[in-house]
């Protein structure tokens, strides 16, 4: 893939984007709830041409010694080579790990799930909640799409029955104890211009990035700066405000089901 870095950067300097969006405008966002029957919860999220699957699987296991009455959250992300010619020689492990950890902390640190309600017998048996992100098509801004997909899957997940000995995956009824719906908003700085929701091309030329996750009450639950340049303090202050604002809009989209099983 050949990206004309100069062109993208020159556009950005003029406050213009190759796809004609406004600096703080997202691409079209589509969310499908529960596209799959095997996982306890699942979602497909498209932001423009970026397509991400999230799946929730529940199992029963032993709690961590330092939190004996809490369920266990394990988030994982995979950059499947189907998603991009860049992943030809093996996906960039560093980026996949960072993505997984942002999704993990977005759920964990926001206390999105009441983990104590996932305890079965304190110190002995708790629900193990696996949140798996699977990237199908990479056109930039995988973080926002992944956090959206994970939150959507948490919303539609249903817990299988457990009789103390065996899990019955054929009967799923109870919803997860979801308290908050965290969403992430990612900004990119190209030269002196700042935009939201960077495409693949834009993220290739960005100087710095900033992802801010927020909760329903507008509180910030996670920040991650990326990229090889810095932000001024003033830029940070501005973007934190923008993120709270735009997070609200993203959260509203989570209630609607775009219902397309077409990537």
């Amino acid at each position: 893939m050949i990206i004309d870095e100069g062109y993208i950067a020159a556009l950005a300097a003029k406050g213009v984007r190759a796809d004609k969006r406004q600096p703080f405008e997202y691409r079209k966002i589509e969310i499908q709830h529960s596209p799959f029957s095997k996982p306890e919860g699942s979602a497909i999220v498209k932001i423009g041409n970026s397509t991400v699957l999230a799946g929730i699987k529940l199992g029963v296991g032993v709690p961590f010694p330092d939190s004996p009455n809490e369920g266990v959250l394990i988030a994982n992300a995979e950059f499947s080579p189907v998603a991009s010619p860049e992943f030809e020689v093996g996906p960039p492990e560093e980026d996949a790990i960072e993505l997984a950890r942002i999704v993990d902390r977005g759920i964990r640190e926001s206390h999105a799930i009441d983990m104590e309600k996932l305890c079965i017998t304190a110190g002995e048996k708790v629900w193990m909640m696996n949140v798996d992100i699977h990237i199908l098509n990479h056109d930039g801004n995988l973080i926002d799409a992944s956090v959206l997909a994970a939150t959507a899957a948490l919303m539609n997940a249903k817990m299988p029955e457990y009789d103390g000995e065996k899990i019955n995956y054929d009967v799923k009824k109870k919803k997860l104890p979801l308290k908050w719906k965290p969403v992430a908003v990612t900004f990119a700085k190209i030269g002196n211009a700042i935009i939201v929701d960077p495409t693949f091309e834009e993220s290739k030329v960005l100087d710095a990035g900033l992802t801010v996750s927020t909760k329903d009450d507008g509180n910030i639950c996670s920040i991650q700066k990326s990229g090889s340049a810095g932000f001024t303090r003033e830029e940070i202050d501005m973007l934190l405000g923008k993120a709270v604002e735009m997070g609200k809009e993203l959260r509203e989209k989570l209630s609607h089901d775009a219902s397309i099983l077409k990537f």
């Binding site: 095997k38 799946g55 699987k57 499947s80 189907v82 798996d132 077409k262």
Partner: protein, 240 residues
């Protein structure tokens, strides 16, 4: 050999609800989604592209590479990501099922990469993956001798049946997947595990090959739809 009656009301030689869609991934050279009942397979084709490092190249043909993998949430119990002995073997037999169909000699020194993701597994994943890969290769515009169609057969309460679903498969230890190129009458994948008299193997082969023709039509239809849609988009763009 008698025919099985089935929990979901299907006839012994009836395949599950089939849906094939070509061209589902914008980044891939070619792609296809195949669902067969609850089993969902996605294939992406990248290439032909130069193969690095050089010592892996073949000077007289393209190297076909196939990777079969399953999403962690595609099974009843979460399955750990990363290659397993099973997925490596399936990758190999899948490659050998597809190779006879592709004009590899047209693209020396390159690689054609086929990635198969099983998004949901309810039995018959390797054959669903081969069908998806066949359509994805065609969607990528790679010259092919023929499409490759695939289906698995098994046993239900001692009687043979086509395209078992997961519940049916749990109760049997007989599994016989085949892949087939109808034009030239080539069986390009054949595996069997179980315990069958010679005659039964032959009869089940008859059953499977019949179902293959159904898949053949479905693959061709999916590609036709894809090309019509592409043409319409092209036209829209030209007019727009």
């Amino acid at each position: 050999m008698t025919m099985a009656t089935r929990v979901d009301g299907r006839k012994a030689d009836e395949i599950r609800k089939l849906h094939i869609e070509a061209g589902v991934l914008p980044n891939a050279t070619g792609s296809a989604l195949v669902s067969l009942g609850e089993t969902i397979a996605l294939a992406a084709v990248y290439g032909p592209r130069m193969l690095h490092p050089k010592h892996l190249q073949a000077s007289d043909k393209a190297v076909l590479s196939t990777v079969y993998s399953m999403v962690p949430f595609g099974t009843t119990e979460r399955n750990r990501p990363g290659p397993s002995r099973r997925s490596i073997e399936i990758g190999k037999v899948t490659r050998q099922a597809l190779e006879p169909a592709v004009f590899l000699a047209e693209f020396p020194k390159t690689t054609i990469d086929v990635f198969i993701n099983i998004l949901q597994a309810d039995a018959g994943t390797r054959t669903a993956g081969i069908n998806a890969a066949s359509v994805a290769l065609a969607d990528a515009g790679i010259p092919m001798r023929d499409l490759v169609v695939a289906i698995a057969a098994g046993k239900i309460e001692g009687e043979y049946a086509i395209d078992l679903n997961g519940k049916e498969e749990e109760l049997t230890d007989c599994d016989m997947p085949i892949a087939y190129m109808p034009k030239d009458n080539r069986i390009t994948l054949l595996q069997m595990d179980g315990d069958m008299p010679l005659d039964d193997v032959r009869k089940v082969l008859d059953l499977s090959m019949k179902s293959c023709m159904q898949l053949y039509e479905a693959q061709k239809l999916a590609l036709r739809n894809r090309w019509i849609k592409a043409a319409q988009q092209q036209e829209a763009r030209t007019e727009g």
